[in-house]
Subunit: 222 residues, 2 copies
DNA sequence: CCAAAAGTGTTAGGAGTACACCCATGG
DNA sequence: CCATGGGTGTACTCCTAACACTTTTGG
């Protein structure tokens, strides 16, 4: 019993303080002209994760990003062409100017804010919903949030990332205290001047040693 | 690009206050004679979950159990026969006398305590490790623990389930207070008499309404 | 001096942890 | 009356949440 196997990758980033996802416009049927999550077939000799990284590179030109397997979707009729199951991954890329078109087989790729998504092909809306859920959950007990920021960032920028993903406002003082308690930030001597107000100190993420925060008994509220 | 796709199911239960997993002895090469996680090929017209439920039924004769997709494993060489990826599921079955042999294609099936596992075929040890990790995590913030108990149970039995999975002792009073706070137990008027000591009150699980406890802000310690 | 974002501290409520004794029963 | 597991309460710590003003800068 052989089945065609694809990987689909939900690529998230933050743009203009909004959570965005990379979608590609389908050039061929089915769903021609509809937007979809980028993906492709798994090759004979590559692992699932390798396939996901390859697709990611083809679409965004970037490598070395956060990538995690999400879930496998395999309803018999999810693809009208026949039996195709997909292993979905999700990736987090740093905002720093990634041009979707940098890839090779980019029919047409574009960032969409989660608040304004087009109608998606296949069961891709379901996959995307699940990815957002996972991302929100992981934000609580891991440091994935930092994967969406450049090397140096302000505390407000960090807070905006959390707010964008959780889709609600957080208290500035409580947010900062929590980060302080976690001890995963290293302040630098640099400041970001921007507009006519007090400059913000830049910080670095300094905690490769643990991705899980559970140990510290500190979580983010939902 | 077609690939053979299997589902493998890690079936957990509690026996004699120990966490156990169902394994089957392979009757054919490769790994003939080695123990492995039960599984089989996904059929053309069934969903992944349907395939998992079918396998589960064939192995244990039970249906209506907790079943959850775990992870997909797809390294090119994980099966010496060629390219096979597997979608792993994990199931929790109630202790109440399930005879592994009840199934159809049961070559030879047997419960093994997690503390005394044999050497496993393929990458099944890796899959099992991951399943245990997931189970432990879910125990903290969901009510999956109840899936391993019969309809009515004593508080001590419940605590033993948590202890078996987490592999450490818990404080009786704190454990009970937490359950009390969660409000997910309904005491019955029945008692279990067993040996020469005070009988234990039987309780029911009474919270189908939510599987996630996060909302309540109460978690189990790790 | 005005506008705008950066930065900072206190209090009250509640869950987590550690810990020791009496209760009910059968033999 | 004794052995066995069932059942209960308190004190302390620490995280969480709510909440408002001062600081620094550019214009």
């Amino acid at each position: 019993m052989s089945i065609r196997v694809t990987v689909d990758i939900i690529i998230f980033t933050i743009r203009q303080q909004e959570l965005c996802v990379l979608l590609v416009k389908r050039g061929i049927p089915p769903f021609k002209g509809r937007w979809s999550i980028p993906g492709g077939f798994v090759l004979e000799r590559e692992s699932l994760e390798d396939a996901a990284r390859r697709e990611l590179r083809e679409e965004t030109g970037v490598d070395e990003v956060y990538l995690e397997q999400l879930y496998s979707f395999g309803k018999p009729k999810r693809d009208p062409r026949g039996r195709v199951i997909t292993i979905a991954y999700f990736a987090l890329v740093k905002a720093a100017g990634i041009h979707p078109e940098a890839g090779s087989d980019a029919a047409q790729a574009q960032w969409f804010p989660m608040s304004g998504l087009p109608s998606l092909a296949f069961d891709h809306q379901e996959i995307l919903d699940y990815a957002l859920l996972r991302l929100r959950n992981k934000l609580e007990y891991t440091t994935v949030g930092f994967e969406l920021l450049p090397d140096k960032f302000t505390l407000t920028e960090l807070q905006r990332v959390y707010e964008a993903i959780l889709d609600r406002k957080l208290d500035k003082r409580n947010f900062r205290r929590k980060m302080e308690l976690l001890g995963i930030l290293r302040p630098t001597q640099e400041f970001r001047k921007e507009g006519s107000h007090r400059p913000a100190r830049l910080h670095r993420f300094a905690a490769r040693q643990f991705e899980t925060l559970k140990d510290k008994g500190i979580l983010f509220p939902f």
